[in-house]
């Protein structure tokens, strides 16, 4: 399937149901209409009887409901890809629908595509996450860390638990002054059968997170473990809530900043990368 980067713009158009618009039927249609195969034809579904005039109105309402506004400004072609890590990081188990999730099975091939696509020159990772699956989070972090293109991360709001390794996986990390990162131990809930083995298993899981964070940021392992086991900071757990400037002081994050600084840094890194490529050629 050929792919055009122009589709990457933020503009997302919702196309109304198409049964009244034979002129818009696939394959020419750019919209979202699915043509189910004969055997997959919906059974017992009333065909939509929406008049054409209402279709435009309903598309408008839908865009207000989904995006909170009527239309999204279209942007010029961008050479960076923005990856937002929000809510829970969903891994091997689908989470109940009240959770907002970032699905790792979608992000991992997306990161492969970012590496492969010559039109994408840099990656901006924006985080506001409460944590989630350890293995899924580490997988995303490793994918970002091993990407050959310049990448910059920005923590807004929160980058907690497994969000910490993802935040430090980029070449350069930023944190908003009010954003926080909670550093606490990995926990096991539910039935514990073999205490010693469970403890060792958890210890190993913990070490994977700690070693990733310490090898991708300037924080020392001793300091990170101290923060993780600190008593009296969190109500339900041991650990520390590290706010903006503190995260930079500990060496966990590179700089306090916002979107402007992050974009500027990313553009600098892209330029450096291009110069390096030119020298090699």
């Amino acid at each position: 399937m050929s792919f055009d980067i122009q589709q990457f713009g933020v503009k997302r158009t919702q196309i109304p149901p198409l049964q009244n618009r034979p002129d818009l039927r696939p394959p020419m249609n750019p919209g979202l209409a699915a043509g189910p195969r004969e055997e997959e034809a919906p059974q017992g579904d009333p065909p939509q009887q929406e008049p054409q005039g209402d279709a435009k109105k309903s598309a408008l309402i839908e865009s207000i409901q989904q995006l909170g506004q009527t239309s999204v400004a279209s942007s010029p072609d961008s050479n960076i890809h923005c990856l937002s890590i929000i809510g829970q990081i969903e891994g091997h188990m689908a989470m109940p629908p009240q959770n907002k999730t970032t699905k790792y099975e979608h992000l991992i091939p997306q990161l492969v595509a970012i590496e492969q696509n010559p039109k994408i020159e840099g990656l901006l990772v924006i985080l506001n996450t409460v944590g989630g699956d350890v293995e899924a989070g580490l997988a995303i972090a490793e994918m970002i860390a091993s990407l050959s293109k310049p990448k910059v991360s920005l923590v807004l709001g929160g980058g907690h638990s497994i969000g910490v390794p993802i935040a430090v996986s980029s070449d350069y990390s930023f944190i908003a002054p009010t954003a926080t990162m909670t550093i606490h131990p990995v926990r096991l809930t539910g039935l514990v059968i073999n205490v010693v083995e469970s403890f060792e298993y958890l210890q190993k899981m913990q070490d994977r997170v700690v070693s990733f964070v310490t090898s991708h940021s300037n924080i020392e392992e001793k300091v990170f473990r101290e923060l993780m086991l600190k008593v009296g900071e969190l109500t339900r757990d041991v650990g520390t809530n590290v706010v903006g400037t503190k995260a930079v002081e500990y060496g966990l994050i590179d700089e306090v900043g916002g979107i402007a600084q992050a974009m500027q840094k990313l553009n600098e890194l892209i330029q450096e990368n291009k110069q390096k490529e030119n020298i090699l050629q």
């Binding site: 034809a41 939509q48 091939p109």
Partner: protein
Amino acid sequence: MIIYSVMPMELIMENMEGMSDIQYEETEIDGVKMVVERTPQTSEAKIVRLLSLNPQDYLNPRFAPGTTIYFRPNA
């Protein structure tokens, strides 16, 4: 599977029982296979995940998980 999160486990796992009622279905749009969640009583469905082997499909905002798609009766 270990969840490493600041959210209490009971909040994350609330409504877990209702998960089995969700109807998943496989479909194909423009040659891209995907799993969708049917919205009962309508001709709409929500994309759950892609089954494509082409990584570029995952960059297409049309195929982002959560996007609503519409089924139409075959002409």
